[in-house]
Symmetry: C2
Subunit: 172 residues, 2 copies
DNA sequence: CGATATTTGATATAGTGGATAACAATTATC
DNA sequence: GATAATTGTTATCCACTATATCAAATATCG
């Protein structure tokens, strides 16, 4: 291909001889996504960003990220586990989990306790405050976040979506 | 709550007096996800990671990331657009799009040309090599990546999933 | 028992993606 | 023609992810 180093911008070139009536700030013409709209990964990513964004909004009064929420949930359901176990279950690398726990512990949401069985490991426990924050977070998530998704998709569709995502997450 | 600073690890404490038969490296007991498995965002994120991972594998011979692939696709479908328009459409911030384009341009997959209408902007074009790589990438994605998702979910389910994700991405 | 290997939490570090502020060149606005 | 807005760019920062390494503690095995 031999390409001249200048080109005409079709979005801004006056089509025919007529003058354009000052364009509305955004793109003059919407771009075509083409095969992108058939790419599952593309919609998956964009949907994920939106969902996380909404999660953050809904749970903003408690200052919890999705990842922090998932840790609190897991600690509540699995008392007596150590850092490696919790981190592995959530797909967090142990080194990265240290700072995350530091954050939660400094806010008195959970605590590390040295195990009597294995003095290398830290047993993780929710504090009372951690349990209280988790309870409030669960309510916010159910009442605002998940409820909104339910409104958008309908209950049956939401369940089907969840099942397929879980399928991909585990079997793909 | 008053908490002693040591605790017993239930996963490793011998239940009853019987000796444990040397545990299989991983967690002795699988952790309970609890409400996490009902959190749409959680499965969404994990599924997204898996799908991107597979995309990278399938298109590895061409050394293309999902983001780079989406740029090439968009350039092909929307000739004559500038950096701002392409970046905005993909949800990439203009400053971050510069380095990304540098990468693609240095591999001779696309080129920037100064517009004759507006000498501030760069019209983006696919090179012949860019078109060739895109064509091969499309084939790999269709034959390996999307086909595998189709096998896992079934064609109808895959379409339903895509529709719901697109719904969330646009209307949520 | 004791030497060696493994595990745990931790640190340092690097890479990547995403976000904002600021700038020069250019164009639009009034 | 003065001022504002836009484009591509740089610099910079933050969050998240990934790897290597370490000391302490424990497990393994001769």
């Amino acid at each position: 291909m031999t390409v001249s180093k200048t080109a005409v911008d079709p979005a801004k070139a006056p089509r025919s001889g007529r003058k354009e009536p000052a364009e509305p700030a955004a793109e003059s013409t919407i771009l075509q996504l083409g095969e992108l709209s058939e790419l599952l990964g593309y919609s998956l990513k964009r949907a994920q960003l939106k969902v996380f964004e909404d999660f953050l909004r809904c749970v903003a009064p408690l200052q919890l990220t999705p990842a922090q929420f998932s840790v609190l949930l897991l600690l509540d359901r699995n008392p007596g586990r150590n850092q490696t176990e919790i981190a592995n279950t959530l797909g967090i690398l142990r080194p990265n989990f240290v700072a995350m726990l530091d954050g939660l512990e400094s806010r008195d949401l959970c605590a590390r306790m040295r195990s009597t069985n294995d003095r290398r490991s830290h047993i993780l426990v929710l504090t009372d405050k951690g349990r209280a924050v988790l309870a409030r977070a669960k309510k916010l998530v159910a009442a605002k976040h998940e409820a909104r998704l339910n409104d958008l998709l309908g209950s049956a569709n939401r369940a089907a979506l969840l099942a397929m995502l879980a399928r991909i997450a585990s079997d793909f």
